[in-house]
Symmetry: none
Subunit: 525 residues, 2 copies
């Protein structure tokens, strides 16, 4: 049996309140999902959203996917418009993806009251759109919006939409619980009902669940147990209202509980890292209590069971945590353990397994830093610097700071001016430099470049590609701190660094210094 | 059919990392749960936890419960100790609750490897403890720990524990998915298997699920569908690791989806209030995306569907939000059109429908601001100021800015200092004020408060609750800009404002000014 893991983090998941991806964010999320081994990445709605149009354009040259194919999302043609004249349909073709996913109305009440067209025209819209796009060489999936509500209200009409899409050449028809109101038993009843009514098997069907009853994961699993082999999820369950089915919980359940081979070999253990990295990109704090991938997913309050857990941890864990890239935690402390640090270092090409003392020091340092609000989940470059500083050779810092001052002035004429001065030592020389910038951090960045450029001409190519700030609430009586992530790009590669401090400018300074250091220090062969 | 709603927020739910209730907290949570209409409130483990002993003591005089009875939790007697000699058992009686809930081992592996006793002694522990406590006039429930893992590994032994407890006089035996690894289909299979094997019906059984597969709610519902009439949950799903079955989602599903009368008449609509109040007491931010009760549970990104939602909101909501005490919300997004702006304004209590020109101006302004990177989706207060400024009366700004200057210095000794000076006009007076802060924005905030406090003493209560920063990529040749969201809290309410500028400090300034303006300007009746 071949399963289709269809991720819609970048399309339906982006409907979550507060999420607003840049095109660069979208490309980064797509790379992470591909690494995890999903089969399909729905990237957005070209035509409807200018950002999505640009994403598909850039994806053609900038994404080199190993496992996944890209999917563009759109709608069936407009009522009363010829499919070839429909601009939105044309934009789908222009996205040049091998697969298209079309949303179609399948609840008769939505056809007549929301779309305000007839039952027949809606079927024609489905038929025309699918046939046309298939004739243009595309694989076409059809998302039946409000499938379950429709099927319960008027199963004959909803089934006719499915039949029409399949007959027109759709590879898959996806049953969507758009309003998210279903329970697993209701999903099972509708899916088996439809399959026997139409005589189709689960290889032509898909499932897409929203989480309004807190059952999206269970509903997705129920549909797969009923024979459906295509499922649509989002990373961390991001999505509108209570969200979508969480990709990671669904993958864990299907692969570890039901023994279904949904991901390529060796990919499941990337779940924690991919989950947290996507959270960072979305600028949403990772959910500590998320199933499988949360920092507390295998955290046990010590006490009652502590010694029993030592006897046999598996008596107290529903799965072996390392299988999904997680760690068991006994005390209420930091999340990093030796195993995950070793694993991550190996991913970066650094061998810590052969250096137990260095591994111990790095683990200690990471624990200490994480207790103060640092997070290396999305800051590989800072993590790599930290590891390399503990290995033979260490890291040579390109300069040392004496002091800096950054100023922002809003003047009487309404203009806003930022200026910074840095005093540093570079290769024995004391250098003072001042520069202006868009903001205090940019001004500091500019001043530092002025100070260093004679010694490090390569700096001219470094570009500050992204900058993210999060305030972390104080815990255990400590003060709130600010965490800054800086993404730097140069010569076709990019890297992310992290800084933490109660002062946003100082936190940014840490991340900037790491960014320049990482880019300037030669990588060992 | 009578259902037993058993809440264990105060016992099992308190295992959640970071939760630490005082006795007063526990009394307050118990009152809220009683108001909601649950039947049983498990208050803690007297004897084992001094705070819990005190809770039961004070509860006798301070709690006047309308719907619920209190339950004390404990364990079966120790191996090799006579039940009357067991201090922990005695502490249970001392709690003077009408109901006791005893945890018992029911997985043979845990009996031999964790408890390190024999299969027979474990059964005797169950029998002795239940018989003794029943003889003392108590109703006794037995929680079978690791029931599902045990039943799958050695169903005969696990069933014998259940049989023993029932024969000894336990009113209910509760099947616990302690490690939380089950899926709904597995719950159904085990529950129906046990019922037919022992010939007991669901009125003697209970269910208790942990959320490690993200299926705790679905698992609880599956057990009830299989006939079980007693279910144990926690408010907001608080609990160890990924938590327990969320009481509110379970109640919503059973009552609204399956039509089961689980709560007294008129209680379901208290869910949102009780959920948020318990979150406040637990000092955990309410989960915006929680099913049924989250602030975003019925929040729709308007754009596409706005006009359809106006036609019939129920086409887009799985239940009527007011039934659970929630509200529908329309988010103002990049795709905002007139319809969604009108809907959103109505939600804020502002009538734009009767003012077509104001509506047109607001729509124009929102589109223009959004094209420059503003987003009102998470910034209701800024949106409300914008709308009100276009309506009769407008918005009176509490001050006008002349200029400000903010500085961050990293000194040679490593210390980091932030300072800001603001020059403003307040009610005709020119005021200059300077303050220090953790960072430039905090310093500006402090300086502004110093400048305004004489005229606006209410400012003293305003608290900067959260601060988020996002860099937005430039598109179509425009420069990158920074978007800042500021959440302010005062007097039990909070509001979010937004600012956008290429300079992070200036963007923060905009959001701060809106925050203070919103908090200070009287809301029209």
């Amino acid at each position: 049996m071949t399963y289709q893991v269809f991720d819609t983090t970048l399309r339906d998941g982006a409907q979550r309140e507060g999420i607003s991806y840049s095109v660069v964010d979208k490309l980064a999320v797509a790379r992470l999902l591909d690494e995890l081994g999903v089969g399909f990445i729905e990237g957005g709605w070209p035509g409807a959203m200018p950002k999505d149009t640009e994403f598909f354009e850039r994806a053609r040259s900038e994404l080199d996917l190993k496992h996944a194919v890209l999917v563009a999302f759109g709608s069936t043609r407009k009522a009363g418009v010829a499919v070839r004249e429909d601009k939105q349909i044309q934009a789908l073709l222009d996205a040049q993806t091998p697969v298209l996913c079309l949303v179609a109305k399948s609840d008769i009440r939505h056809v007549t009251r929301a779309l305000r067209t007839t039952a027949e025209e809606n079927l024609a819209m489905v038929r025309d759109s699918v046939e046309y796009l298939v004739s243009q060489g595309r694989r076409v999936f059809v998302d039946c919006e409000h499938f379950f509500d429709g099927y319960r209200f008027d199963s004959a009409y909803t089934a006719s939409v499915v039949r029409t899409a399949l007959d027109a050449g759709a590879e898959r028809v996806v049953m969507c619980d758009t309003n998210g109101g279903m329970l697993p038993s209701q999903i099972t009843a509708a899916v088996t009902g439809l399959m026997s009514e139409l005589g189709v098997d689960g290889d032509r069907l898909g499932i897409h669940c929203q989480n309004d009853t807190s059952c999206a994961v269970a509903n997705t699993v129920a549909a797969v147990e009923a024979g459906v082999t295509h499922f649509q999820c989002t990373a961390n369950g991001y999505g509108e209202r209570p969200g979508n089915a969480d990709l990671f919980a669904v993958l864990g359940n299907l692969q570890l509980k039901l023994g279904l081979p949904v991901l390529p070999e060796g990919c499941l253990e990337k779940m924690v890292r991919v989950s947290h990295a996507i959270a960072e990109i979305a600028n949403i704090a990772p959910d500590t209590h998320q199933a499988y991938v949360g920092a507390a997913a295998f955290a046990h309050k010590a006490g009652l069971h502590a010694s029993a857990i030592k006897v046999d941890p598996l008596l107290y864990n529903h799965v072996e945590p390392s299988v999904v890239g997680n760690d068991m935690r006994i005390l209420v402390t930091e999340m990093a353990g030796r195993a995950s640090i070793e694993l991550k270092s190996r991913e970066l090409g650094l061998d810590l397994a052969g250096h137990p003392e260095a591994l111990a020091r790095v683990t200690e340092q990471v624990k200490d830093l994480e207790a103060h609000g640092w997070s290396f989940e999305a800051a590989d470059a800072s993590f790599e610097l930290l590891v390399r500083s503990q290995l033979a050779g260490g890291v040579t810092r390109p300069f040392t700071l004496e002091s800096y001052r950054a100023t922002v002035e809003h003047r009487e004429d309404g203009s806003v001016i930022s200026e910074a001065t840095v005093k540093v030592r570079v290769r024995g020389e004391r250098v003072i430099a001042t520069a202006e910038g868009n903001g205090p951090v940019n001004a500091l960045d500019e001043a530092l470049r002025v100070a260093l450029r004679r010694h490090y001409p390569a700096l001219a190519d470094f570009e500050l590609a992204d900058y993210k700030v999060r305030i972390l609430e104080g815990t255990h009586g400590t003060q709130a701190v600010t965490r800054v992530l800086v993404e730097t790009a140069a010569a076709g590669r990019d890297w992310t660094t992290v800084g933490v401090h109660e002062n946003v400018v100082e936190a940014s300074w840490h991340a900037l210094v790491d960014a320049l250091t990482y880019g300037l220090v030669p990588v060992p062969a």
